[in-house]
Amino acid sequence: MVADKIKPLLLMGLLTTTLGAAGLPLPGAWGVGAGLLAPLPGDLRVTTGAGLDFDLGLHADWQVRPGQAVRAVLDAGWYSGADRQHADPSLAQSLSTRVSNEALGAEYLWRPARLGGDWELGAGLYLIRWRVASVNQLATAGGTFTPSGTSTWTREGLGVLAGRWWNPHLETVAKVQLSHYGYENQPTRVASLNVLWQF
C-alpha cells in the first residue's frame, strides 16, 4: 500500500516536470469548478447508490499552441452512499457504504478553429484516490456484530470530455471518466457535468 500513497506525489512530479520542460513556467489561467457526478450502471454504482453526487475542483490551463491547451486538474468528489440489506436464515446483513474520491490529472484540450473556438474536445489521464467508508452490521440469532472502517485505493484513470465556452470566463464541461477501485479492481465509469469559472 506504500505505492498507493506515493502515486499522487509521482503524478504531481510528472506534471511539474512535463510542464516545466515545455517551457511553461506559469499557467495562462486558473479556475475553479463545481458540478454533478453520475456513476454509470456497474460496480461503483452499487457502492455509491443512485443519489445526487457532486464534485468541486481547481484547474490551471497552459496554452501550448493556438487552439491547444494542457489543463492540470485537482477534483474532489462526494457520492451519496448506498444502504443494502440481506437476510437469510442464519445471518441478516446491513451494509452501508459512502464513497468519495480525489483526482489529480492532466487533460489535453483541443479547440477546433472550425467550431469557432468556443467548443473544446479533450482527453485526460488521472490518478484517482478512492475512499469507501463502510458499516457492516451482521446480525445472527445470538447477537449483532457491527464492524466499520474506511478503505482507500489509488488507481489510474482515463477520461474524455467536451466543453463549451460561453464567455472568456465561463465554461461547461461534460466528461466521462474511467477507472477502477477496490481490492477486486472493479471498474468505475462516472459521467460528470461541470461548470468552470476561469479567473
Binding site: 454509470l40 450502471p41 456497474g42 460496480d43 461503483l44 452499487v46 457502492t47 443494502r84 440489506q85 440481506h86 437469510d88 442464519s90 445471518l91 446483513q93 446491513s94 451494509l95 457504504t97 477546433p112 472550425r114 467550431l115 467548443w119 474536445l121 469507501v132 463502510s134 458499516v135 457492516n136 451482521l138 445472527t140 440469532a141 445470538g142 447477537g143 449483532t144 456484530f145 464492524p147 466499520s148 472502517g149 478503505s151 474524455v160 467536451a162 461534460a174 466521462v176 474511467l178 477496490g182 481490492y183 477486486e184 472493479q186 471498474p187 465509469r189 459521467a191
Partner: protein
Amino acid sequence: MNQSKRIAILGSLLVLGLACGGTRVTGDRVATVNQTLLLTPAAPAVVQGQTLQFQAATPWGSQAVWAVEPASAGTVSAGGLFTAGSTSGACTVLAVWSQDVRYTATAAVLVIAPPSAAQGTGTVSISPNYVNAFGAEQGAGTGATAWANGAVVGEAEASSVSTSATGGYQNRAGFLPPGAN
C-alpha cells in the same frame, strides 16, 4: 460533411462508447462479498473448553476482525483462536476482513459436551473376533484384556462394544461428533 461536423460526431461516439460499456456482476453486493473471504473450517464441532484455530483469507491478505455470537458461546482471539465456552449449543463465528469490512464470512460452530471419563480399572472379557471400543481387535481364544482409565472418542458399532466383566468399568464412554456417521 465538413471536417468540423465529423469531429463533433466522432467525439460524441467516443463519449457514448465509453459510457455504454458492459457491466460485471461483482462488487460489494450484500451477501456476495463473503465469496472472496474464505473462512476455514466452515462448520466444526468443538468440545466445551477446547480451542479451535480458524483461518480467514483473501487473495490480498488475511488479517481479520473476529466475533462470536452469542458471546456466551466462547471467545475468539485476534488471531482467530476460538475457545469454546462451558455451554453446549450452536454459535456463529464471524470474520470481517480488516482492510475492507465489506468482506465478511461466517462459520457455524457446534459446542458439545465433553465425553464422560471411564471409571476405575478392571478386566474386560471380549468375545473372540470382536473389535473393542479402543480399536484393538480381539483374537480367537480366551479374551481377557486390562485397561487403565481412559475415554473413548467415537462410538463403536454396537456389535463390537465390549462391556465390563468385573468392577465398574465402562469402556463405551465416547461421544459421537456430528456427521461422524
